[in-house]
Symmetry: C2
Subunit: 306 residues, 2 copies
Amino acid sequence: MKLLAVGTVAFDAIETPFGKTDKILGGAATYIGLAASVMKTDVSLVSVIGGDFPQHYLDMMTSKGINIDGVEMIKDGKTFFWSGKYHNDLNSRDTLATELNVLENFDPKIPESAKDAEVLLLGNLHPAVQLAVLDRMEKRPQLVILDTMNFWMDLTWDLLLEVIAKTDVITINDEEARQLSGEYSLVKAAQKIHEMGPEFVIIKKGEHGALLFNDGKIFAIPALPLEEVFDPTGAGDTFAGGFAAYLTKNQEFTFEEMKSALIVGSAMASFTVEKFGTQRLEEVTEAEMIGRIKQFKELTTFEVKL
Amino acid sequence: MKLLAVGTVAFDAIETPFGKTDKILGGAATYIGLAASVMKTDVSLVSVIGGDFPQHYLDMMTSKGINIDGVEMIKDGKTFFWSGKYHNDLNSRDTLATELNVLENFDPKIPESAKDAEVLLLGNLHPAVQLAVLDRMEKRPQLVILDTMNFWMDLTWDLLLEVIAKTDVITINDEEARQLSGEYSLVKAAQKIHEMGPEFVIIKKGEHGALLFNDGKIFAIPALPLEEVFDPTGAGDTFAGGFAAYLTKNQEFTFEEMKSALIVGSAMASFTVEKFGTQRLEEVTEAEMIGRIKQFKELTTFEVKL
């Protein structure tokens, strides 16, 4: 199976309690592509960049087997730029700058080779763009996964609901699930979001792990306890990418497979936060990933004698 | 094996978004005793009550097989009373009243029948009382478990450290672990607390579950996602009680057994929060408890095919 992902390919400038970066490689689609490449998944990206985007970033992605035919370059435009500063607990951040640049008029173009992708991941982006991508597929993919955030709830509520209605899986964080549903209890929130469309609802809780809801069933995983979270940027995108890549590879979209995919996504994300930006994810080997999945297994396995 | 627990037997008046109570049965030792009784564990309580404490509460405990020989009644004294109001998210609360009453001069007396208890649970209480109980045992119990809270860190830091140095297992919440260790990362916090004495460190994260640390090993469990948390009062005490009772019954104090005990404690606590005070815990059957442990298993079990 093939995975098609739409999202930003961008520049980030990040400040954490541990240091700060200049403009480095970032963007939802970048993290998704890299996570999928660790999983050796057939992945294509749809995005837009400016003439200022360094060729060596593109070469790096290509060398990892990421298909970037759908990453359009607007030669006289500038690449999307985001800058943020994390608070001391790394659980919250202030946005210092958001320069939309070429993203402002982004008209997503899907390469012929990926129009029949069986799995579509709508990475965090304007819902209008997500809808356009869905419309431009040859036929509806077998699985449509949506990643979104509070920003779009605040700005484009109706459009977002339209996307949500067309997706099979949604991944959002706990505060966003509460905002979207108007329910404080995450169990109730997931039920309401389920009624909006998605058969599977994933609620991400950062350092507290994640929950997967499907038809009354619940699966919960803790996050891997880390000594140090260095930079949380891209963790959610990496999670979505690892999740989608696992499902694409295993070609089954059952609750059991979704559980496994949740673990793979979490394992991936646990690498991303270890260094600035995409740095750690770029160097992750398949063996390291398998090792981390085993750590999840050890972390959560128990027997009760009664 | 026998379990001895020291803690309050008290009156609580509770207000949550769902309602409020008059003075009802409360206290750490009460919850611990009830949790242990569900586990059919040989449990004795050490505590103090006033002449105003209703006989029917004592009868209820006795009828459940809880040994209350060590619950001293000061006839002309009044029972400890706590009153609190929970905020809308139920994760925080304001204390409205704390009347120490007979607790002020509590001099714990250990019944002869329990002086040789193999497992000692020092429930949340003044560290001086916890130390006195430990000193008055026939010999050091095989396993000493400590439950404490930020209140004692603020008021009796040195004494608390003295108790901590003498325990095998400590259970505290995430914020308290950070306060106690001066470390934000819970992994680092657990390491520092480990160095203070306890071989096993349990960090409770409320709706986000709990972590168990031992000698570089980590076990993590989510909390059971509940549609509604009705009243969190006593959840921590119930957890400690279920945890200690399981270990007392199974007579092994390995990391593997601690993991199982963590599940049992969490399952117990998930009942307590369903109704006001001890109401739900008083009616829990062994079958219900086994059912809930199975739910934990379903909630957390996964396989990853790679």
